[in-house]
């Protein structure tokens, strides 16, 4: 009977690991802002989770456990990729094109932009807490840091995000104002021509 119970538990856990793909992906994306990389990270994390399925004793701690694995995979990736820099990320002259500016103006891109420019440690904390709604102690466990550090990182991240979003909003307003005034000016000109 015990063996039967264990088998059932394992099947349920495998299902749960498979079912957590979407939320792991969202988290991986919030950390890396790279769709392909996120997919790889999630796949590796799921694979490791399936291999280490016996380690999870308490099912209530599933979220913490699986995010810990994802975090390890992510840190492993960062460690490996440190020496080389993607040529596409190198700013040769200036990669701020009008298209880029327009995209950033749109709120989602703007927020993602702000999140991706945070330092990794802050980005991880803010996404675990705000996207996944985990508690401070769970996040402290996942990232293996004291709660005080979680709080201070969170606070710095929120400060920086708030500032970036506000700055962007102001820029956007000034852009729309300048468009408005230039439109006004052009109608005035037209009037003069008609006269």
């Amino acid at each position: 009977m015990n063996i039967f119970k264990l088998a059932c538990r394992k099947v349920a856990l495998v299902k749960r690991i498979e079912g957590s793909r979407s939320k792991l992906y969202r988290m991986a994306y919030a950390w890396s802002h790279d769709a392909m990389l996120s997919d790889d990270l999630v796949q590796e994390a799921q694979m490791l989770a399936l291999q280490k399925i016996e380690q999870l004793k308490d099912e209530a701690a599933f979220d913490g456990w699986i995010y810990t694995i994802l975090n390890n995979v992510w840190l492993g990736y960062l460690r490996k990729s440190r020496p080389c820099e993607d040529i596409e990320c190198v700013v040769v002259v200036d990669n701020i094109t009008p298209e880029h500016e327009m995209l950033v103006c749109q709120i989602d891109f703007m927020v993602r932009d702000a999140v991706s420019s945070l330092p990794n440690a802050q980005r991880q904390v803010v996404s675990l807490i705000d996207l996944e709604g985990l508690s401070y102690s769970e996040v402290a466990n996942i990232l293996q840091v004291p709660i005080g550090t979680v709080m201070s990182r969170l606070n710095r991240a929120r400060g920086a995000l708030g500032k970036a979003i506000n700055k962007n909003r102001m820029q956007q307003e000034s852009v729309s104002r300048s468009i408005y005034t230039s439109q006004e000016r052009s109608t005035q000109n037209k009037l003069r021509v008609v006269k």
């Binding site: 992906y25 709120i107 996404s127 995000l161 979003i165």
Partner: protein
């Protein structure tokens, strides 16, 4: 404001407990600046959730672990075998077809006939039934108001057949009224659908005015060739 930014964050995240929480809430009631700060944190949290809620993983090929996969293999095998078996005789068949008009529709030009419509319903759906009857009524009313001739056939097969069955149709009265009011509407039930019902031991029990003629597909093809306009509901 006597609370640190960290405390404000902790309150907004629901991390404050007991006396700390009470003290914070007491202060919150009287301090507009503090209220604003808490609101800002909450708004930021919501904004982040909103921003990332549309992030979804790319579609993944599902590995089916059930017998379904083997069933698919079997079907594939049978198909390959059948295609191979018949492809020997295909060459001559294609030649025959090419000689007839079916392969080359341009040889027989279809001339569109104004005022001739065939409406086709094939699903068991009350809303679609209503849509069919509405469409019929609209067409008739439209043509009559212009005093032009119209011929309309409503053909039902598969699940759509229920529209014409006296005991199950939700619109028996409407069908009868339509027939009384417009004699130039012809209701046709697909003979295949009726036969299939009979195989299951059910009697179609069609409304009086409904004709039971050819199969739906034959009727539709025939009418389209004659230049009727085909409307699929």
């Amino acid at each position: 404001m006597k609370f640190s930014a960290e405390m404000i964050s902790a309150y907004a995240d629901g991390e404050l407990q007991g006396s700390e929480k009470t003290e914070f809430e007491n202060e919150l009631q009287n301090d507009a600046e503090l209220q604003q700060a808490v609101e800002d944190v909450r708004a930021l949290k919501l904004q982040l959730q909103k921003t990332y809620q549309n992030v979804v993983p790319p579609a993944k090929l599902q590995y089916s672990t059930s017998n379904y996969r083997y069933a698919m293999y079997a079907v594939f095998f049978v198909l390959t075998f059948t295609v191979g078996w018949f492809s020997g005789g295909m060459h001559s068949a294609t030649e025959n077809l090419a000689q007839s008009n079916i392969m080359n529709p341009s040889m027989k030009k279809i001339v569109e006939q104004p005022g001739k419509y065939i409406l086709h319903i094939s699903v068991r759906d009350k809303a679609k039934y209503k849509q069919t009857l509405d469409q019929a009524e609209l067409l008739m009313a439209n043509y009559q108001s212009k005093e032009q001739n119209i011929q309309l056939e409503i053909i039902a097969n598969a699940g759509g057949l229920d529209l014409f069955r006296e005991d199950v149709s939700p619109y028996v009265q409407r069908v009868k009224q339509l027939q009384d009011r417009y004699p130039n509407i012809k209701f046709i039930a697909c003979s295949n659908a009726v036969a299939r019902l009979r195989e299951r031991g059910e009697e179609a029990n069609l409304i009086n005015s409904v004709h039971q003629g050819a199969t739906a597909i034959d009727q539709v093809v025939k009418r389209v060739h004659q230049g009727w306009s085909y409307i699929k509901i």
